[in-house]
Amino acid sequence: MKAEIKILTPVGMFGYGFPEADFWRGIDRGPDAIIVDAGSTDPGPYQLGLGKMIVAPSALERDLRVCLAGVVRARIPLLISSAGGPGIGAHVDATVEMIGRIAKETGQRLKVAAIYADVKPELVRERFAQGRIVPCASAPQLTAADIDESTHIVAQMGYEPILEVLRAHPDVDVVVAGRSYDPAPFAAFCVLHGLDDPGIYWHMGKIMECGAVCAEPKGSVIVATIRKDSFDLEPMSTAERCTTLSVAAHTLYEKTRPDLLSGPGGVLDLGRSRYLQLDERTVRVSGGAFRPSPAYQVKLEGSALAGHRTIFVGGIRDPILIGQIDPFLHGIKARLAAIYPELKSGNAQLIFHIYGKNGVMGELEPEKDFVPLEVGILGEVTAQTQELAHAICSNARINVLHTPYPRQMATAGNFAIPLNPPENDIGPVCRFSIYHLMEVESPLEPFTSRIVEV
């Protein structure tokens, strides 16, 4: 058993690319594994809903080629989590297939483990009926329709399914995991090596899964050195440094709060964490504590089709119309609602985004009475069919162009339209239908795996 292990992470999002010289500098440090996260729900529900990957196949392939070269040269495993972004089975398989193709081309023989995070709707329905599913963060209550309408449902695995594979197949070269709690592969690798303080490995994983984003300036390639009761972080670009402040600040980023981080099986409490500047570019972290939850829960993510969307864009410069833009657009909405019962019933939506006024902040905008020089309008129509969305959008756009208004002087048209055709179908719209915590019988319950020799 090693007293210390090193983990190399090339980038916070697999496929975004990373400086190769920094990667090889990291390999020269003698890491025990390369671990990289590929997942996120940040881009919104369409990827999970439509089964799309976050990065282009060519971008994924580029990053994979470099990492696989590192695997072969250093004889260490590569762990990829949340393959493809949403981490559905098809993304795991596509990633495994790509690895196979690269291996064949470069004459490598690799043992690849695929771990799946797809959850059967029947299991979700069963747990929902048992009252064992609760909203995660500020999500609304789950409904039976949310489950039925979801096109894909995945669960974020903890470290346990990955650890099981690593223990059963110590010679595995690559692990491709479906949807995972971002720090899970980091935790799994620590536990495999007997570093089993969850306060340490979860905190390390939470920072490392973003690559060298915890450095200043934000970077890409980073190496963590982990031991029983602390870990050290060093970015591999010599132009970057980790500081006690930059590392402590990292757990603020896109988290509800920086000190209590919920994950599968419990909560990481960083209230007493300590940050020590080891040298100019390296920080030592310790003091994280993990509090197991009474019941083991995994986070479910589901996405459903919400409709089909058509949009138009354009601008207004006329000061007389801009001065009454809200009542003007409100009147158009009322007119359209009278024509299309779907708008009135809520089965279709017509929404105007008024850029220059409150297009960015909407209701949250504190400057209510600001009168801009010009405004841009994005008209957004969603309906149950693309055809209906197009019809409503077209009608709305014509109304914006030609509806008269009080004190009108410009009688030839109200609206400057850049695009031709003026309204454009942009396809399906999704919604996060499930973002909930589900109790499982064991941390392994919904997850399956297979081994592929490529």
Partner: protein, 121 residues
């Protein structure tokens, strides 16, 4: 539009980072991070950053605030709001929540100007 910058008393004059971001699909989180302990302490002790101020600036009820805290290890102030709309779905304005921070920048903090504050560090 606003020439208060000479005062050096706005949050944007005192902090290093003022940002907003989605925290999962159903929350928006806001971070104000300082590079030096002195302006951080000054802002924290001024008592200006309150839940009431957040409610007023963003026009939200108090129960929309799911976290509100100072975080000393990172010299940071943070609050998190429940999102009033679904992320990346119908009517979305800011998928990543990355442009909801601007009203925080103009918050006035009473006391001495920054140049004095940084000289004291």
């Amino acid at each position: 539009m606003n020439d208060k910058s000479k005062h050096g008393n706005r949050l944007r004059d005192l902090a290093k980072v003022i940002r907003s971001k989605n925290s999962g699909p159903f929350e928006l989180t806001f971070d104000v991070i300082f590079s030096q302990p002195e302006p951080y302490r000054r802002v924290k002790e001024s008592g200006v950053l309150t839940r009431e101020l957040v409610c007023r600036l963003y026009g939200v009820p108090d129960d929309a605030i799911v976290a509100f805290m100072f975080f000393d290890p990172a010299l940071a102030f943070k609050f998190t709001l429940r999102r009033g709309w679904a992320q990346g779905s119908i009517g979305e304005r800011d998928t990543f929540g990355a442009q909801q921070h601007a009203p925080l920048m103009e918050i006035e903090i009473p006391g001495q100007a920054t140049d004095q504050a940084s000289a004291m560090k």
